[in-house]
């Protein structure tokens, strides 16, 4: 039994040993597996593109992943150190982070802040840091696990965008104009501060056709029609309307709207600008009224000056005639009569009488419809005559006349003298217009052409200062010349129209004026 018993004890021991060794091996294997798993977790954490960390319940960091360590080339101890010295975070963010971290630890609620952390290069970068607590079965916090995600790029882009938005808004609000945007249907979507201040209402109070409320009652229909037409045709709009100011006063605005299209050509928005032109509009109106008054007054003044000039012209010889006549009477009634002196004085009476009559006939010639002798007339001949007659006058003024005459110009049925008068008058005006100016070239061009099938055209072009008002120059007594009567062009037009023609003026580019007239081609019966 004993013997029998002894070996069985060895067996038992052996079995037990085997079992223990087996257990040891398994434990070893388990340990190995655990180590491998821990290693793989560590590698995994180190590879994550974020900073991962762990902290004790009282907030002491006890782990950071390799990225944090390598990124900043800091050890855990460095990080802890820097944080204690307050050198890890941006000074402006320290308070927030400290407060939030304390609050999180106190309440056990997640920690979530956006803050700047300094790298080894000394530069701060933006991070989004979040941490959550890990609890045991009893609900006690064992550790805090956290991640810091680098959001610096995004944050900077956001900031740049915000800054440019701010700048744009500031720009739009300080622009000395009122700016707005509307959707493709014309509903206002945005108005700048200046426009909102002017109207005394935000853009929301303009929707659903409420923009009609801000327009002057007399302008509403016109504006609606023009704006409607623009929306329908998709064409830009420019107009002048009166807008109601917050205090109820209406002021004139120059209004512009332009569509913005996408790549398909569809309208995305309408953009508009409106500028207050009320003051200039008022000034303009006042100016126009003053000008009208002035022109009436100056016309009156010219008429009275003309009358005075005529009276003086006639009065002078008339007074001489009367004085001489008295003298004659005296010479004749003297004892003895002085016949020689009487004769001489009588001759003077005739001379002065004639000179008074001449003044009268000169004035009559200006106004009176003289007997016309119309015939087939070649206007080229008349132009040539006039430029020949004016040669001296023109050369003393250092001007040249150039003619460009159509070879096949049809004849007209006209009065030669009157046509000479018209062309000479236009030519003389042109020459005088170039006189005081630094005109270049000092050339007066006279051109003749056939104009369509039944008329001829003559153009007289100068390089003088041009005409301001192409219609007013034809008004009687309108003159820019110091000694002008202001009758020349009025008479020219009267003559041309008397020939069933037309006379008009245009301003030439870059300088100068062109006076053109047409006369019908042809014979007596065409009149």
């Amino acid at each position: 039994m004993t013997l029998l018993g002894a070996p069985s004890a060895y067996v038992l021991v052996a079995i037990a040993l085997t079992a223990i060794i087996g257990l040891l091996i398994r434990y070893r294997k388990l340990q190995e597996a655990l180590r491998r798993s821990e290693q793989s977790l560590g590698r995994f954490l180190d590879t994550l593109p974020v900073i991962v960390w762990r902290a004790t319940p009282d907030g002491e960091p006890d782990y950071i992943n390799w990225r944090a360590a390598s990124h900043g080339r800091r050890s855990l101890a460095d990080v802890v150190n820097l944080q204690r010295q307050g050198k890890l975070e941006h000074p402006a963010d320290v308070d927030l982070t400290t407060r939030e971290w304390a609050r999180a630890r106190e309440t056990g609620k997640p920690f979530d802040v956006i803050h700047r952390i300094r790298g080894v290069d000394g530069l701060y970068r933006w991070y989004h840091t979040r941490a959550e607590p890990l609890r045991d079965d009893a609900g006690r916090i064992i550790h805090w696990y956290g991640v810091d995600v680098d959001i610096d790029g995004r944050k900077k882009a956001e900031e740049a965008l915000r800054k440019s938005e701010q700048e744009l808004r500031l720009f739009l609000d300080t622009l000395p104009a009122m700016v707005w945007r509307a959707n493709p249907d014309g509903e206002p979507e945005y108005i700048n501060q200046r426009l909102a201040d002017y109207l005394g209402r935000p853009v929301t109070q303009l929707a659903q056709h409420r923009w009609r409320e801000i327009l002057h009652p007399d302008d509403v229909d016109r504006a609606a029609e023009e704006w409607g037409a623009s929306l329908a045709t998709e064409l830009p709009l420019a107009g002048q309307y009166r807008f109601r100011r917050a205090d109820g006063v209406y002021r004139w605005f120059q209004f512009h709207a332009e569509p913005l299209r996408n790549t398909d050509g569809r309208i995305v928005h309408w953009y508009g600008v409106q500028v207050d032109i009320d003051d200039s509009k008022r000034t303009e109106e006042a100016l126009r009224a003053t000008q009208a008054q002035l022109s009436r007054a100056s016309q009156m003044a010219t008429v009275s000056e003309l009358a005075a000039a005529i009276a003086h012209e006639i009065n002078q010889p008339l007074a001489a005639v009367i004085a001489n006549a008295h003298a004659v009477q005296r010479w004749l009634s003297a004892e003895p009569p002085n016949l020689d002196r009487a004769q001489l004085t009588a001759e003077r009476i005739i001379r002065d009488g004639n000179s008074a009559a001449e003044v009268v006939s000169r004035i009559r010639a200006l106004f009176k419809r003289t007997e016309l002798t119309r015939a087939q007339l070649d206007l080229n001949e008349v132009i040539a005559e006039v430029s020949r007659l004016m040669t001296d006058e023109v050369s003393t003024r250092n001007v040249r006349i150039e003619t460009d005459l159509a070879g096949d110009l049809p004849t007209t049925w006209a009065d030669r003298v009157q046509m000479q008068q018209v062309i000479a008058n236009l030519a003389r005006n042109g020459v005088e217009a170039m006189e005081s100016e630094e005109s270049h070239p000092r050339v007066l061009s006279i051109r003749s052409r056939r104009d369509g099938t039944n008329s001829v055209l003559v153009e007289v072009r100068d390089h003088g200062r041009g005409v301001d008002d192409v219609e007013r120059v034809f008004e009687p007594f309108f003159t820019t010349k110091e000694n002008g009567l202001g009758m020349g062009l009025a008479i020219c037009r009267w003559i041309v129209e008397g020939h069933q023609g037309r006379l008009w003026a245009t301003s030439s580019s870059p300088r100068g004026a062109t006076f053109s007239f047409t006369l019908p081609i042809g014979a007596r019966d065409s009149r």
Partner: protein, 202 residues
């Protein structure tokens, strides 16, 4: 009027008018000198004769009224203005400044000749007056300083006694001065002396 006792100056820029005026005035036995401008007239050495100036208001170089203003300080002949259009303000100004007449062209013969004769007569009177004053001035210049002191007191109407007291001299001495003054001034009476003193502005 005789040939040498007066002269009529005509200033008018219009030749016809100048000739006609010359003719008319000559036919009325007046001596005439004509000028085409104010400058010509001013530059002319005028004879010491009673004169009349016929002046056109609208002169090329200077307005007739302006010429009147310029020569006002000097001894100048009486002026008759001629104008093409007689506006009231100008004529009032001219007449206030001493013009004899302001005639509008064409003027009547009688108006012109009447005005010219009045002007010459006034100028003659003025010249006589000026001569008289000049003579009196010469006499006044012969008085001694003491006599110059006595004269104003006498013409003021003070009694000899009062005048003597004022000057601190005896009545007899004063009477001697007074006698000498009457003699030197060629005054017939005290009234005569008072008139003379008035003309001299003593």
């Amino acid at each position: 009027m005789s040939a040498k006792d007066h002269v009529v100056f005509v200033v008018d820029d219009d030749v016809g008018m100048r000739e006609a005026l010359d003719e008319l005035l000559t036919s009325a036995h007046l001596n005439v000198v004509t000028f085409g401008s104010a400058a010509e007239y001013i530059g002319f050495a005028k004879p010491a004769l009673p004169a009349c100036l016929i002046l056109d208001v609208e002169l090329p170089d200077i307005n007739g009224l302006e010429l009147q203003r310029q020569i006002a300080a000097e001894q100048h002949p009486q002026i008759v203005f001629l104008t093409g259009h007689g506006d009231i303000p100008s004529s009032v100004r001219a007449l206030k400044a001493g013009a004899v007449d302001f005639l509008t062209k064409p003027f009547s013969e009688s108006d012109l000749l009447g005005a010219v004769h009045i002007a010459i007569a006034q100028d003659r009177e003025a010249r006589l007056q000026r001569e008289k004053v000049a003579t009196l001035q010469q006499r006044l210049d012969t008085l001694t300083p003491r006599e110059r002191e006595v004269l104003p007191l006498v013409v003021k109407g003070l009694l000899n006694k009062q005048a003597a007291a004022e000057l601190g001299i005896s009545e007899v001495t004063l009477q001697i001065h007074r006698g000498r003054i009457m003699h030197k001034m060629e005054a017939d009476s005290l009234a005569d002396l008072v008139r003379m003193a008035g003309a001299l502005g003593v």
